[in-house]
């Protein structure tokens, strides 16, 4: 049962990868003309020493994706390249490859998002659970409504406000970038502290917005769970309130939250792209922004593909871990 379940989930993951790749290939071609070719030709016509390389790219591109070749041949050679994570050169950063640029930016985004997602999920679920509990502390009544209101606001909008308050007005925190210009990257206290100072505002804007959502979801699940017979029976068993709360309520209410986590990752990432843009944070989002501005199709496609694969993989991992949280799942028919 378990092996079959994992195999099925992995098949879904592969399907997502394939869909993402195909989307990348077909969508730009839907408009009839190939925007990549158009862009490449335009760059090549500009001339100059950088563009000598671009002309080579045009040749290679034409050879691979030339109009004289049938679409399915183009598609196959595209899939082949993608499978080898070869996304071509970045048009605007020639001769750097798209793969290098992404590899450079990815750790920043993974670090920022990993931390903010875990923190907001943890804090939000905890607050939501506590709020549904009859003995909820009084202070929560004042903390929660603002959190819920914040949850309705886009991440980057809060980012703008925080930036104005803490970086521009109070000058407490750095306003821009991933680390101070001139700081020498390396694994030393100075640099780590510098990076953390720069990450504080982007992280805060994501956490403040995302926490309320998790709290709201968790509270709803807790209210449902607390109405279940096994909670009543747990109370009749004379269990301590803390045991009932943790092992009979939170333990069960967290399950749908975990499923939601997989879905939420995509949305958090969407929002984080804009946060990175606003704060000039050197992650994937800012790279994407630059790529869009400069019409760098290869870079855009590479980023979109990488992100979708990364998310698909995270979802797959969550799915694999899920039966461990909910023993019923691998027995159910899906």
């Amino acid at each position: 049962m378990r092996a079959l379940y994992i195999a099925r989930r992995f098949a879904v993951f592969l399907l997502i990868v394939w869909l993402a790749a195909s989307l990348n290939f077909f969508l730009p071609r839907l408009s009839g003309q190939d925007p990549v070719r158009t862009k490449l030709l335009a760059e090549a016509q500009l001339g100059g020493y950088v563009h000598a390389g671009i002309e080579d790219m045009v040749k290679e591109y034409n050879q691979k994706f030339g109009l004289d070749r049938p679409l399915w041949r183009q598609y196959l050679s595209y899939l082949g390249d993608t499978a080898q994570l070869d996304f071509n050169y970045s048009i605007s950063n020639y001769p750097r490859t798209v793969r290098d640029l992404i590899a450079e930016a990815l750790p920043w985004t993974v670090g920022l998002l990993g931390m903010t997602t875990l923190l907001s999920f943890g804090i939000g679920s905890f607050l939501g659970a506590l709020l549904a509990w009859p003995g909820a502390p009084r202070w929560m009544r004042y903390v929660m409504p603002p959190l819920w209101a914040l949850h309705a606001i886009p991440f980057f909008l809060l980012g703008l406000i925080l930036m104005y308050l803490f970086a521009f007005q109070l000058r407490l925190l750095p306003i821009f970038g991933g680390y101070s210009p001139g700081a020498s990257p390396g694994f030393n206290i100075r640099f780590v502290l510098d990076v953390m100072a720069h990450a504080t505002l982007p992280a805060l804007s994501i956490i403040l917005v995302a926490t309320g959502g998790w709290a709201l979801g968790m509270r709803g699940m807790m209210v449902t769970t607390m109405g279940e017979d096994y909670v009543t029976f747990a109370e009749a068993k004379g269990l301590r309130a803390s045991t009932i709360f943790l092992r009979y309520c939170v333990r069960n209410a967290i399950l749908p939250q975990t499923t939601a986590l997989a879905l939420a990752l995509g949305q958090i990432l969407s929002g984080a792209v804009l946060v990175e843009v606003i704060f000039g944070y050197p992650g994937i989002g800012a790279l994407l922004f630059q790529a869009i501005r400069e019409n760098d199709h290869f870079l855009i496609q590479g980023i979109v593909f990488t992100v979708i694969v990364a998310l698909g993989f995270t979802t797959f991992i969550l799915d694999v871990l899920y039966p461990w949280l909910d023993p019923r799942i691998s027995y159910q028919r899906t």
Binding site: D229, F233, A234, E235, A236, G238, L239, R240, D326, R328
Partner: protein, 310 residues
């Protein structure tokens, strides 16, 4: 001394349309080692009784008065933590057989163990406990969804007896089970009760089950106790008209005759008829029944009925 004595218990619920009195001045007692039944139809307050005795009424409900004496301890005055310790150790509950009383994501053994641990008992011999309720070895490692309904209910019984309580409240323990399984579960309950010398309060709506299982029976109608008597007396000669009609409305396997229901509708608890709550449906009702509420009185040795004409 009685194993459990309920004295003048009153429970009500706040409702937008007024206060609903779910349990209205109910008194009865369980002797040690006795099987006592409480029978009633939906809305008669019988399940509220179970929760009230365990001091588990949640808002908007509240206990308005009365005493709950377990041995010589008055549960109604115990503090929060003391009542928690009394649950399971002194008075245990077998929940409604609704298939959902066990946490679906915890192994069965762990659900027994945490009950012991929270009462300061080191969990051990859980396998033996399972054997006592007739469950095969290895059940402790199972999750609830891997067990049948009857097995789950046995697990609940095992949990209920793990600290050897003096009183077990069984609230419709077989309501979702098939008749064949029902008999097995009730037999298990009877066996463990004799093992423990515990008193059982069986709450239910099935008069046949009561007749076959309990020693004495209390009949509830609209939150009030209308009759208490040894079960043989009730079967032989019910004193309250409601009890009599309830028994008559049950299908028998012995003789086939026209089924007789009780005419009219069960009253709304927030809008009870004056006097005797049963008078609108009672063929024997007189003016006095409309005006004056009959209180339970002893008709003869051990037989109480709340009827002016019993």
């Amino acid at each position: 001394m009685n194993a459990l004595r309920i004295e003048g218990l009153r429970v009500s619920f706040d409702h937008p349309l007024g206060v609903v009195r779910a349990v209205d001045d109910v008194s009865f007692a369980l002797r040690p080692n006795e099987r006592f039944g409480l029978v009633g139809e939906s809305g008669s307050g019988k399940s509220t009784m179970a929760l009230a005795i365990m001091r588990m009424i949640r808002p908007p409900g509240h206990i308005d008065g009365g005493d709950i004496l377990l041995g010589d301890t008055n549960l109604s005055t115990l503090s929060g933590d003391a009542i928690r310790r009394t649950r399971l150790a002194g008075i245990a509950m077998v929940p409604q057989g609704s298939m959902n009383a066990l946490n679906p994501v915890m192994r069965v053994g762990a659900q027994v163990a945490d009950a012991m641990r929270d009462h300061g008992v080191q969990p051990r011999d859980i396998d033996q406990l399972m054997a006592r309720v007739g469950l095969p070895a290895g059940t402790v490692e199972k999750y609830p969804h891997e067990l049948s309904g009857g097995m789950k209910q046995r697990v609940c019984i095992a949990i209920a007896i793990c600290l050897r309580p003096t009183v077990i409240i069984a609230d419709e323990p077989t309501s979702a089970l098939d008749v064949v399984v029902q008999r097995q579960v009730m037999r298990t309950l009877a066996v463990v009760q004799q093992d423990l010398n515990a008193a059982i309060l069986l709450i239910g709506h099935d008069m046949g089950l009561m007749a076959q299982f309990v020693d004495r029976l209390g009949v509830m109608y609209a939150g009030r106790l209308v009759e208490i008597a040894p079960i043989a007396e009730i079967v032989r000669k019910p004193r309250h008209p409601y009890t009599e009609m309830l028994i008559a409305s049950l299908p028998s396997m012995d003789h086939k005759d026209a089924l007789r229901g009780i005419p009219g509708l069960a009253p709304l608890l927030r809008d009870l008829p004056s006097g005797c709550a049963f008078h609108p449906r009672c063929p024997k009702a007189r003016d006095r029944c409309r005006a004056e509420r009959p209180l339970p009185r002893e008709i003869e040795g051990g037989v109480l009925a709340a009827c002016h004409f019993a």
